[in-house]
Symmetry: C2
Subunit: 352 residues, 2 copies
Amino acid sequence: MSSATDKICILGSGNWGTTASRILAENVHKIPTIDKTINMYVYEEMVDGKKLTEIINTRHENVKYLPGHKIPDNVVAIPDIVEAVKGATLLIIVTPHQFVEGMLKKIKDHIDTSRTRAISLIKGITIGKEGTATISMLTKEYLGIDVTVLSGANIANEIAAGQFCESTIGYECKQSAHLWKQLFETPTFRLSCVDDVIGVEMCGALKNVIALAAGFVDGLRMGNNTKAAIIRIGLVEMRKIAPYFSSTIKHETFLESCGVGDLITTCYGGRNRRLGEAFVATGKSMETLEKEMLNGQKLQGYSTAGELYQFIKEKNIVEEFPLFVKVYQICYEGADVNALFSGLNVSLQNSI
Amino acid sequence: MSSATDKICILGSGNWGTTASRILAENVHKIPTIDKTINMYVYEEMVDGKKLTEIINTRHENVKYLPGHKIPDNVVAIPDIVEAVKGATLLIIVTPHQFVEGMLKKIKDHIDTSRTRAISLIKGITIGKEGTATISMLTKEYLGIDVTVLSGANIANEIAAGQFCESTIGYECKQSAHLWKQLFETPTFRLSCVDDVIGVEMCGALKNVIALAAGFVDGLRMGNNTKAAIIRIGLVEMRKIAPYFSSTIKHETFLESCGVGDLITTCYGGRNRRLGEAFVATGKSMETLEKEMLNGQKLQGYSTAGELYQFIKEKNIVEEFPLFVKVYQICYEGADVNALFSGLNVSLQNSI
């Protein structure tokens, strides 16, 4: 313990945060310079009359968000965020997207920014009039520290079950990438590193819009070919729009797990696909389906589709992105879902 | 009729050939210079006591290979291949892969090579000690004519049903690409053109090897993430191995329908996936499964996996293609199917 110079705090305890805690609690033993006790900030709630933090700290299981999987004893659940980050130099950001900003405000005066770095496991961006804000951008803005991101075809439950999965680390600082890779990689959870933070984050957000379209295809009871076409066109549009957000985004990033891997898994599983399908099958609005099917949570693909369309319109590039535009028109403007397929000749080559 | 300078012959009448005949029989009306009567070479067989050619020419339906879909009257089934190619200047090659060479030998003295061009709709290559032979290469070798290829996420039955699908035209001659696009494209079957014949053909063959691996994942009852990882790694290995076959292959081709699109659809449907799954579930050999499940037909992914491995070994690049190699070892050398997942860190970026 005395030689430890770093300490981990996991900010969030949903199913991904809890899964991450299990991995980190094992891997931390490989790195002498990191304190073996891992703090996990847990938004306190009552489960069957008991506090969730108490359940985690005594039964060593997150019975609400990752039931059936043991959490090692060296993970300590803490309900107070300021208490949780005390002494922490390695922050894992894994709360729901909409809570990040508030959380950063709360912790910013309580961490030693000179020797702290963070990794974000969150998918989702905000595309606003004042520009685009990714989690790494927000974190940098509030904390001024090095931020790495981790994103990919990494549904928490499958990772927790030890199934082979992979993910992508997007980094600015190579040393940080090396450290985070050591901390997160396991024999069945493989990580590749790319020097492209924003590219990795864009992939994680944009793929949700395509997943809505994949859900439409399922709702229309169309076949494998149609779905593959939509996924492929989605991938091409994701790659094509990237430079409008940042000139630093690399083409190769879209062939990593964060790109095509996550896109495929999201278009076959995941809730964006599921609500897309229900949208067609039921004829209900997205807002209604959010309420009915997501228990009041927000559907990321739906809000991103809206923000993305405003961005596309302002840049005057509607013609270049027929699929993104169709998804918007179908979700927000009542366009016929069959219109999804018209004008979708999308290629990276010159047309003939 | 008198102004017609070109005439179409479809060489093959399986479900894709028959589907193509329906498209061509409509689209031919848009191009004045092409004879409206389309010859279709049909390998003669008896169906319920009647000749298949007679059934097609009287009932205008291929009851054996595409039941339930009408074939327009301007398609004429012909059992004699020499008779079928008489006067033809636009050849559609769509027989099973293993019959192409024999067929080319039969027709080579019966076509006017100075004004004939061909398009191949066939997926599958032969990787031998003397080099790699694609259908376009074979056709050029025997006929010495311009050859275009068409390949993509285009399962015939879904196209015949009018579901939205897309495909890729790989061309050498731009004018040919333009003509074939006019002939094959419909409002629901969209085509992009790439200046990369061999790249399009390589995609169509290599994806079958990855589909076996996807089938293994299904046989092991693993989840969406694992499958997405295998598909992604497969795509990267396909792209990485391409330059060893030809320096002209373009990266962008792998993002067309012939690449990632066809790969996805094949890994979720298709018989390579199905046999891969059965291989794990039953423990039977691939040869046995071919006999039991394919009625004696050959499984393309299986033979390609074997040929590809020899190629990889001879080039001394085993380390670079763990997935291709694992599929070979599992199919041919009795390796444990769980070994599929070890050593699969595959990225296009430099490793950290």
